[in-house]
């Protein structure tokens, strides 16, 4: 596995961080061989912010970057100049371009992307049939895996475009807020194998044979299955599905093939995965699942970013701060605020200890995985300046 950006055994001086390899973000962003960075992780851990901050830092160090976001928070989107969900990369303003870099950003329009795939791969007549089919309309706008599938489709398109016109040399992708972080790896295959699978061929049989003739042509098994499905699903739905499938007939190989291509792209050394987490048990467990899964799929992990970590300065432990506060309460203090300030510090130190404990357990269970921490910010991040600060923290 590629862990080129790892600095073995480094820790920051004076920090209480557990020993383990540090994720060197600047080395990752500076590597011209890396052309795709995929940010993944469970919901609410700051994936989009991390993707945007990585993109900005790369752009300001000279890379020509496009950031593909899936579902950004409104104000973050506005700060990136993303006012419309229109599938078009647009330049982000307020970027320092003195190093020769640039930054574009775009928001995924899942239905538009799906429509484009159909238009590209079917004859105009067939495409029209597909696009107006009620079942297609439902699948393309609401199938639980469509967003994941289309995010990967869009990634493939951007990669092809960057190879053709050299407008970008780095693509940073944010992944959809899935049920599980693993969904976006599974969904494309699931849709691909469904569209190429046995069930489709069974559904196709009647359409190909024409009308009800399938009852004679099909085997007993298939006709029983069709009877059952008609009872359960209702005849109308089944007919829509059949029409949809018949119209898609010409593109079948295409779906599986494209899913396979994207998969190969994700395994390539030009790709780096950054797994994003927050310092709590559930998010780190999800991160560990993801790290394992990437290894199984032979996909290159750069490392893990832990956001929102409580950090404390100074060498005063929780216990000593509480003892000092109690001593001040018992005696006569010059300022009544002193004891409360110490108690605040004790509270922050407790959270910091818990966060470092969770990270240390992750480290122990995942030795050799490079990791970087971003301190918790008092305010939400929704401007370029805020992203720049996050980028600096990411780089350590």
């Amino acid at each position: 596995m590629a862990r080129a950006t790892t600095q073995a055994g480094s820790t920051k001086p004076g920090s209480t961080r557990p020993a383990g390899p540090a994720l060197d973000i600047d080395a990752l962003l500076a590597d011209p061989g890396k052309r795709i960075i995929v940010c993944c992780g469970s919901g609410g851990v700051g994936k989009t912010t991390t993707a945007a901050a990585l993109g900005l830092r790369a752009a300001e160090s000279g890379r020509r970057v496009v950031v593909l976001t899936i579902d950004p928070a409104l104000r973050l989107a506005q700060s990136l100049g993303l006012t419309a969900l229109d599938n078009t990369p647009r330049p982000v303003s307020g970027i320092d371009t003195s190093a020769g870099g640039s930054m574009d950003a775009m928001m995924l329009d899942m239905k538009r992307t799906f429509d484009e795939v159909v238009e590209q791969h079917a004859t105009p007549e067939k495409a029209q049939q597909i696009l107006s089919n009620p079942f297609y309309v439902a699948v393309s706008s609401s199938f639980a895996g469509t967003q994941e599938y289309m995010a990967m489709e869009k990634l493939g398109q951007l990669r092809a475009q960057s190879a053709a016109d050299a407008r970008w040399d780095l693509i940073v992708v944010d992944t959809p807020p899935s049920r599980s972080a693993l969904d976006f790896l599974d969904a494309p295959k699931r849709l691909g194998s469904f569209l190429d699978g046995r069930f489709i061929r069974i559904l196709m049989a009647p359409a190909k044979a024409g009308g009800r003739a399938y009852l004679k042509a099909a085997t007993a098994t298939i006709s029983l299955a069709m009877t059952v499905m008609t009872r359960v699903l209702g005849g109308e739905l089944l007919r829509d599905v059949q029409t949809f499938v018949a119209a898609l007939d010409t593109m079948f190989g295409g779906f599986r093939e494209r899913a396979d291509q994207t998969y190969a792209l994700l395994q390539d050394d030009e790709t780096a995965f950054v797994v994003v987490a927050s310092p709590d048990r559930d998010a780190l467990r999800e991160a560990a699942f993801f790290v394992e899964r990437l290894a199984t799929e032979r996909m290159p992990l750069a490392g893990v970013v832990v956001n929102r970590v409580q950090m404390v300065a100074g060498a005063l432990s929780r216990g000593r701060a509480e003892d000092a506060a109690d001593a001040l309460d018992a005696g006569s203090a010059a300022s009544s605020a002193s004891a409360d300030l110490l108690r605040l510090h004790a509270d922050l130190a407790t959270s910091a200890d818990r966060h470092q404990g969770a990270i240390a357990r992750f480290r122990t269970a995942n030795p050799g995985v490079a990791l970087t921490q971003v301190p918790t910010a008092a305010r939400d991040i929704h401007d370029v300046e805020g992203l720049r600060t996050v980028g600096a923290h990411l780089a350590g």
Binding site: G44, A144, F199, G234, G314, L328, A378
Partner: protein, 353 residues
């Protein structure tokens, strides 16, 4: 359709409720808990389940996203589609857990309504089950929530009083706010693909229950901008879809720690006098490097004040909704060491349960 499922009335704004004031405390049997990812909705759903079980009720806690959040929260073996006892409460109540699984739900449904033993496995073999549970839009959600619908409506016993509901309450750890309106809007979703037929009928019954007064959708948030925005969006979307919004539960609220007099002293930056006094106090209490530590403490206090300000702004936005709001404390030690019981007690003390 169950005749007791009358549409929910608009209860209007509520402030300062006691145990019986909270709208929905009376008669709600299905508590749906949602929230932005990372706000702790699974934890809150579990705390709500514990609080209800602590009142002598038989409670089912259900999850639908295949994440095994319940088993991790209670540190019990992974849950399956089968309802499993998590604990018996001394009050006579009990908490049961279930991880609803779409494939099992579909096979169960086919068996129950169509007596399809062999045909079920046939459908599985040709990939139709996979199609229904993963590809076909909306069907997956109908199946997941259909199982919850079945558990809420299930009745048993042949006593003098006839059959009684199996569960006094069902708590659903629902998908996050971004997907919840679609998840609960099974009717609209299904209408896209099935305009009539048995699936449409099932979706209609489920929708009737979800829109009735036995259901309440609670939204978990943090006092941060994005979670609050998603919370307000969810209130709007759910209301627009005729779904009964219950309480807003604010999670991980930080204890102010600093008292008003401290805030006054600190506002607008610490004075040289305060700085000197604190340094002297730290030195007196034996803290090493008192000057350096004073800088650290005052920086921490400034960041803390900023965070309290932000919390205040966000709390204001939530209060403006005029809905029942409950506050759960940030636990410095996390959920270990019985933290979830602390949250359950809070929900009881504040009158949600």
């Amino acid at each position: 359709m169950d005749p007791t499922l009358s549409p929910v009335a608009d209860t209007g704004p509520t402030y300062g409720f006691g145990v019986s004031d909270f709208p929905g405390a009376q008669g709600v049997r299905l508590h749906i808990v949602t929230g932005k990812g990372g706000t702790g909705k699974t934890t809150v759903a579990a705390a709500l389940g514990i609080a209800l079980a602590g009142q002598g009720r038989k409670v089912l806690l259900a999850e639908v996203e295949d994440r095994q959040g319940i088993s991790q929260t209670f540190d019990v073996p992974p849950l399956s589609h089968t309802e499993t006892l998590i604990f018996d409460d001394p009050s006579g109540g009990s908490l049961w857990g279930m991880a609803v699984e779409p494939k099992s739900a579909l096979l169960e449904y086919l068996h129950k309504f169509y007596k399809l033993g062999r045909a079920g496995s046939l459908l599985e073999k040709i990939g139709a089950i996979d199609f229904a549970t993963t590809i076909a839009p909306g069907l997956r959600d109908v199946l997941l929530i259909g199982k919850v619908y079945e558990a809420v409506g299930r009745r048993e016993g042949r006593g003098r009083h006839g059959k009684t509901p199996t569960y006094d309450a069902v708590v659903l750890d629902a998908p996050p706010t971004g997907r919840v309106a679609r998840f609960l809007g099974v009717n609209e979703e299904v209408a896209e693909v099935a305009r009539m037929g048995p699936i449409k009928g099932q979706a209609d019954s489920i929708t009737a229950m979800l829109k009735s007064r036995i259901t309440a959708v609670h939204i978990v948030t943090l006092l941060e901008e994005m979670p609050v925005q998603e919370c307000l969006d969810a209130v709007h979307d759910l209301t627009a879809n005729g779904l009964p919004v219950g309480a807003i539960i604010v999670n991980q609220v930080r204890d102010p720690i600093l008292e008003d007099k401290d805030l006054e002293a600190l506002s607008g930056g610490a004075s040289a006098r305060l700085r000197a006094d604190v340094a002297a106090d730290l030195a007196g209490a034996g803290v090493p490097d008192p000057k350096g530590m004073t800088d650290v403490l005052l920086d921490e206090a400034a960041a803390h004040l900023e965070r309290l300000d932000l919390q205040g702004e966000q709390d204001q936005r939530i209060q403006e909704q005029g809905r029942a709001v409950f506050y759960l404390p940030a636990l410095a030690d996390g959920l270990e060491a019985g933290g979830i019981r602390v949250l359950a007690d809070e929900l009881h003390v504040q009158g949600m349960v």
